[in-house]
Subunit: 225 residues, 2 copies
Amino acid sequence: MSGEERRRRADAERNHRRVLDAAEELFRTRGLDVGVGEIAERAGVGRGTLFRNFPTKEDLIAAIVVERMQAAAASGRELQSAADPTDALFAFLEQMAGAQQVNRGLFEAIADTWLVNEEIRAGHTEIIGVMDALLARAQAAGSVRDDVSAIDVLFMLKGVCEAAASFSTIDPRIVERHLDLIRAALQPADASRPLRGQPPTLSDIEAAFPEPAPAGDSAPTGQAA
Amino acid sequence: MSGEERRRRADAERNHRRVLDAAEELFRTRGLDVGVGEIAERAGVGRGTLFRNFPTKEDLIAAIVVERMQAAAASGRELQSAADPTDALFAFLEQMAGAQQVNRGLFEAIADTWLVNEEIRAGHTEIIGVMDALLARAQAAGSVRDDVSAIDVLFMLKGVCEAAASFSTIDPRIVERHLDLIRAALQPADASRPLRGQPPTLSDIEAAFPEPAPAGDSAPTGQAA
DNA sequence: ACCTGAACACCGTTCAAGT
DNA sequence: ACCTGAACACCGTTCAAGT
């Protein structure tokens, strides 16, 4: 809705990207608590420039997470036209878990940020949308129980990511293994063993965490004046 | 092995506990980044005293996590003699997930700490032991597939805890729901769908992260002199 | 319009002085 | 033997001065 990409000076645009790239590499290889000073240095910019682009370290992390989410969503969309709906769904899950395996704590940053960042919210919505489509196809094909939602699946996937984070250096196959367990959990249910509770939906989350503010005076993002 | 509880002065002992209690409450209600200054103040001791007892903030967090783990292990042991082996196993899982639900980020602190803290290791070993016993009974009874290990189950449980952390304020039944999904995943397998990989074991972890040092010169714990 | 780096605030940790 | 709080170091963030 507020998607007008402001025209920026060439050097500003370049610095933005350099910070993003430097941060991406440092976070990936050394975890989330590398200093912003070091990131600025590696990017070849001053501290101030970094904070001009990303008002807070958390925003910087969020920006990277968002890029990953978009990439994941994109490759998920390609899978929507795959031949086997079930394989497509699990290929997508495997991709996401694999990304976590490579990326230290980046994906975990999603957990705390249901509400925090607006762009993260958008990314989430996007991913849930893709997953929902993949899931629906698999359910229509009768290979996945239909009393689960995409968010249910996302929660289970987070378990796999957790396992990957702490165990994949010991045995990388832990990811496939736990995807198999998810697959077992998702097999069409016999009606005698229904799931308790209701399938979680995006509206549930939106209702619980309403958007902060519809954009008011002196926007902190720096869109005006 | 080095279990000799040093005799401490009465006030020291009391301060130790007061810090632990103050930290427990503040962490539980307000998350892991309350300042140590505030904790010391609430405990009614000086900063220095806090750091005498817990050389680092992380140690303080670990101490609390360890207490929770021991409590969980204890109540798990009671369940070992329950009538229905399967119910006993899942009651245990539900207890642990419930603890997470009440405790903000405490349980999550376990994730990063496979190796870090020696007492956390001990706590982990204890919990895995209890879970292993409960699991073995359920497997012997034929109600749980026998190609999974206690650590497999722990990984799945962490997924549930994650879901609880981010969604239980919206719908608390999310925990039961995902325990049901675990239950489905653990149903005795048909041999045509084996799990990939090997069941993870404690020895895998120990082999990958050998203990730091068998206790040498000038112990940082302050046991000598 | 954007960049820079010195200065600030905050918080975990240390340590000299007390009892 | 243990307690205390002032001092230190570090790191995220701000801002006056530059181009």
